[in-house]
């Protein structure tokens, strides 16, 4: 088994009784790619991961790992290793035993077990902890042991099922960096399930945003963030969330977006197809809104409602004259108070336009 397997999911459906979780899903993951499955709870991302691991049977379709059809194989025969949200360490075994259990079961020679356990422990700074029981470890240490248990298997694909969700914010950031470093070092294929979009954006080579058992968009973090294909992806990715302005798109010589009494000039917008006249929504991220002196001519006046200092910058919550709320990032030392007025503008090269009829990007 090479260390960098590709994963090919072909037309996989998963049903529990009459409930369809996944329908005819196709997904191809390149060798040594870091793919993140991102979505709200219940979108089928964990189910898909469990199916890849062989812990859930598929109702239809095929799963190929490393060029081999493993659809009917036991988890141990798929060349995978997995890290779970609840760590799932064996509580009655020491850290060393936890790491070596899988190899012992597989009948690996003692010398090789010791060597692999030693390597993994060194890589994850667990050497000091090898003789402790899981109960004597902190949450972060436990999750490192769980990652170590996956590493010693030297699998072709590493699967992560929301591995950081049980940790506090600081540890989460620390381990996130550690996982990224690990991927850079091993170059192994990794599939990572999360509902945390920061984890997805920071770790992934490609992100698959899922909803209702369907992959909405499969692309690089930058594309997902800058050019979401539909309203769902736009609103799910990004924190604070993207602003949405309801209105109409009017295609003439120059396409114009009309919201309330304002007519926004959007000739710089890269339309996917030909511009048409329809009911549409304009989306813009808070950091792309121009405010104050940078707003330029044709700016709209907004009223400040609330100011949230975030340290590096300040989040300003405003409302347009027609009642639409808009949030924007502003430099930290701006002195704004609720009730102040602020000119804002929406640069056309940073906006997204969505068709109200379909929710898709225009």
């Amino acid at each position: 088994m090479s260390l960098k397997s590709e994963v090919d999911i072909r037309g996989v459906s998963i049903r529990f009784g009459s409930v369809k979780v996944l329908e005819q899903l196709d997904l191809k993951i390149a060798p040594s790619e870091f793919l993140v499955l991102l979505g709200p709870s219940g979108c089928g991302k964990s189910t898909l991961l469990n199916a890849i691991a062989g812990l859930i049977d598929v109702s239809d379709g095929e799963i190929h790992i490393g060029g081999r059809n493993v659809t009917w194989d036991e988890p141990k025969d798929r060349g995978i290793a997995m890290v779970f949200q609840s760590y799932a360490l064996y509580p009655r075994m020491s850290v060393r035993k936890n790491l070596s259990f899988g190899l012992e079961v597989a009948g690996t020679p003692r010398a090789e077990i010791d060597q692999r356990v030693g390597e993994a422990a060194a890589m994850l700074r667990l050497t000091e902890l090898l003789d402790r029981k899981p109960a004597a470890l902190s949450g972060g240490q436990r999750q490192r042991v769980a990652i170590g248990r996956a590493l010693v298997r030297k699998a072709g694909v590493y699967l992560f099922d929301e591995p950081l969700s049980n940790l506090d914010a600081q540890l989460r950031a620390e381990l996130r960096v550690e996982i990224k470093r690990l991927h850079a070092r091993l170059g192994a294929t990794m599939i990572y399930v999360t509902h945390d979009q920061i984890e997805a954006l920071t770790l992934a080579d490609r992100i698959a945003v899922m909803q209702g058992g369907v992959i909405q968009q499969l692309d690089t973090p930058r594309k997902i963030y800058r050019e979401p294909v539909n309203r769902f992806v736009a609103s799910f990715v990004g924190s604070p969330a993207m602003n949405f302005l309801p209105g109409r798109l009017e295609s003439g010589e120059e396409p114009v977006f009309v919201t309330g009494e304002h007519r926004l000039e959007i000739s710089d917008y890269a339309f996917l197809g030909a511009p048409k006249t329809c009911s549409a929504t304009l989306g813009i991220r808070p950091e792309h809104v121009r405010a104050g002196a940078t707003a330029g001519p044709g700016a709209i006046t907004a009223t400040v409602e609330m100011v949230e200092p975030m340290g590096a910058d300040t989040l300003v919550w405003c409302r347009l004259a027609n009642g639409t709320p808009v949030s924007l990032r502003h430099e930290a030392d701006a002195r704004l108070a609720p009730g102040d007025t602020l000119p804002v503008s929406f640069p056309a090269d940073a906006i997204s336009l969505f068709d109200d009829a379909t929710g898709n990007r225009l």
Binding site: N50, A53, G54, L55, E74, P75, K76, I80, A81, M82, F84, Q85, S86, A88, L89, Y90, P91, R92, F101, G102, V105, A106, A146, R149, R153, D161
Partner: protein, 308 residues
């Protein structure tokens, strides 16, 4: 009543500086006194028979004849205990109750061991492996547990006669295992169901099979449940009378049956002191189990709430 409460609360807080600071003062209200008195009386009430048994078993027959069962023994004697153990008569045999004791041990050890192994294995299979019809099987098992087991005795006798097993040590072990199965399965299934399913998944990814997961991961975690199961099975099987009488065969009659024979065999005067001593000897093992393992028992019952 409320006035009394208020009066009693003002006392300690007045003594301990500012009100509402430091440990809350303990209050001894009349209601509390009533509860303690009730508990004390109840405890005495239930301890009384035990006292009478022990006192009588240590008396000579002359003292017993005086009819004062509450009185403490005047001349302490261990004679009735020795007689009960080694020379009391059941019918024509005068070897005491010790024969029954060793028979009970012979029945107890394999029955407890086998029923716990099979019960835990069933519970493990039902909670982690998606066995087809598992819920139905479990429901059937549970509903059978509510049918009085006397109903099964005659059919079981016929079944064992048909199988050529008749009455034997093996028969009684099988019978105890069967009747222990619902409780043992329920106990272990519920415990295993409280463990995170990811633990089981992790073991499967690690390549462990059905029995390896059971033996190396699940059973070591189930120690508190095993203790509870041992307590339940030891006391249940030790106290059994009718199954032992029917299935064990003449050679293997358990201690309870032997005790019955001793107490009901009367030649002339009833030796109450020997009867009491024999009864105490029979009840000794469950008593020791309860006193020795009470802490474990509570821990085991509570263990379902604590995740590994």
């Amino acid at each position: 009543m409320s006035g009394v409460v208020a009066a009693s609360t003002t006392l300690p807080s007045g003594a301990g500086g500012a009100p509402g600071r430091g440990p809350r003062p303990r209050r001894m209200t009349p209601a509390r006194w009533g509860i303690y008195a009730f508990l004390l009386i109840t405890a005495l009430f239930f301890l009384l028979p035990l006292y009478v048994m022990i006192a009588t078993s240590l008396k000579t027959m002359d003292e017993v004849r005086m009819g004062n069962i509450i009185a403490l023994p005047v001349n302490l004697t261990l004679e009735p205990w020795i007689k009960a153990w080694s020379s009391a008569c059941t019918g024509l045999n005068c070897n005491g109750i010790r024969v029954g004791f060793f028979n009970s041990v012979k029945i107890l050890l394999p029955s407890v061991f086998v029923s716990i192994i099979i019960g835990s294995l069933t519970g493990y299979a039902l909670s982690f492996w998606r066995v087809r019809g598992a819920t139905l099987l479990f429901a059937a098992m549970m509903s059978v547990a509510f049918i009085p087991y006397q109903i099964f005795i005659y059919p079981l006798v016929r079944v064992f006669a048909f199988l050529g097993l008749g009455q034997s040590l093996l028969t009684i072990v099988i019978v105890h295992t069967i009747f222990g199965l619902p409780t043992m399965t329920l106990l272990f299934r519920n415990y295993f169901a409280s463990l995170p399913a990811e633990l089981f998944k992790a073991a499967r990814v690690d390549g462990a099979g059905f029995y390896q997961i059971y033996w190396r991961i699940m059973m070591p975690m189930a120690t508190p449940m095993i203790v509870v199961a041992i307590i339940l099975q030891v006391t249940g099987i030790w106290n059994d009378f009718i199954l032992g009488l029917v299935f064990a065969g003449r050679e293997n009659l358990p201690m309870t049956v032997q005790l019955n024979n001793i107490v009901n065999t009367t030649q002339g005067e009833r030796a109450y002191n020997v009867d009491m001593a024999a009864t105490m000897l029979t009840a000794l093992l469950p008593l020791v189990v309860y006193f020795g393992s009470g802490r474990w028992f509570v821990r085991g019952i509570a263990a379902g709430a604590v995740k590994g």
